[in-house]
Symmetry: C2
Subunit: 205 residues, 2 copies
């Protein structure tokens, strides 16, 4: 049995989306944040010591980290490589893998700092300078990558789009995409996919 | 020709270490931070649009993201799987991959916030609470993983140790390991490896 431990509201809806793209059968267990602290409930620590989400449990194999979960699910359930290049196609696979690491590895930090700046209202010029410069860099980088293509790897959707779409959704919620219409269009294009809509039905309502 | 674009001082020394573990021949091109802004020099943007480091160029294939670079190098140069489980050993490979994503995906953000708090001296309780809670969680998690083992995956060194060791080195420089002697020992154990010492010779002096 494959189970996804899903914390509302958070990044795990994007892993539910991948499960739907792969048309897998799975159980979805929901958890809710503490409304005062906004932190995950302690029950999640019984699943994985970090107590975060997404976490999957596949017949006892418990995994965290969105990118690592994606690699595992694709290795096991996408033998025809519909959602990522085969590793034998090493140059394209390496580029895919770079885009798989990039969202959490490079884009999340300045986004979280921007979120904390807005929530706290604190004057912190060093934080402000860092997140401002980094977010300009990353939004321009993703814009350039999408200039000639509908998706990160070209004209076909891949699992790399899921992590990028999560970051851009977060940027959108921080009102950072108003001057980046191609990125808003990209988010909308992805979120109209039937698998994403099914994920919303399972994971939100 | 394999080239690593190496920014001093920064995380790319850890990729140089991996190149040395794999006993590869490579060219190392050095770059220096702007002493006033501490940012990378603009020349790095001519190599990769993000202008960051590490970046490798392997006969024209340009890759960023430490974890993705590691996966590429191991796929190409470690056919006997000395530094990571084979993907056919799917449960162990998945766990390895989780630990490969974990450093940049989960540990770097609170470390950077802690660094910026110290550098700026700003009073920012929300940032402080976030980085304090997250760093306690992660240092305890890594401590538990290393409780019975010398290395992240067991008694053998793997490529997963490199990213974890980078994070713990950063934690050490922020004076966060004084109550975590097993983590200091782990960093020392890794940094005594001949490949790490060769990396220092190539990348620092």
């Amino acid at each position: 049995m494959l189970t996804i431990h899903h914390l509302r509201i958070g990044r795990s809806i994007f892993t539910v989306w991948l499960l739907e793209e792969l048309e897998l059968e799975y159980e979805l267990k929901e958890y809710y944040r503490n409304p005062e602290t906004n932190r995950a409930p302690p029950e999640l620590k019984q699943i994985h010591p970090l107590g975060k989400s997404p976490v999957i449990d596949d017949d006892g194999l418990v995994l965290s980290e969105s990118g690592a979960i994606a690699s595992y699910l694709l290795k096991k359930h996408d033998p025809q490589h519909k959602l990522s290049p085969a590793s034998s196609d090493i140059a394209n696979w390496a580029q895919y893998n770079q885009w798989l690491h990039y969202p959490e590895g490079s884009v999340f930090t300045p986004l979280l700092i921007q979120l904390l700046l807005l929530r706290s209202g604190v004057e912190a010029p060093l934080f402000d300078a860092y997140s401002g410069a980094e977010l300009t860099l990353h939004l321009n980088h993703i814009t350039a990558q999408l200039a000639a293509n509908d998706y990160i790897l070209g004209d076909q959707f891949s699992a790399a789009d899921i992590g990028v779409c999560y970051m851009l959704s977060m940027a959108q919620s921080l009102d950072l995409l108003s001057n980046h219409s191609s990125l808003s269009d990209y988010v909308q294009r992805n979120k109209q996919r039937p698998a994403f809509l099914r994920a919303l039905e399972r994971g939100i309502e």
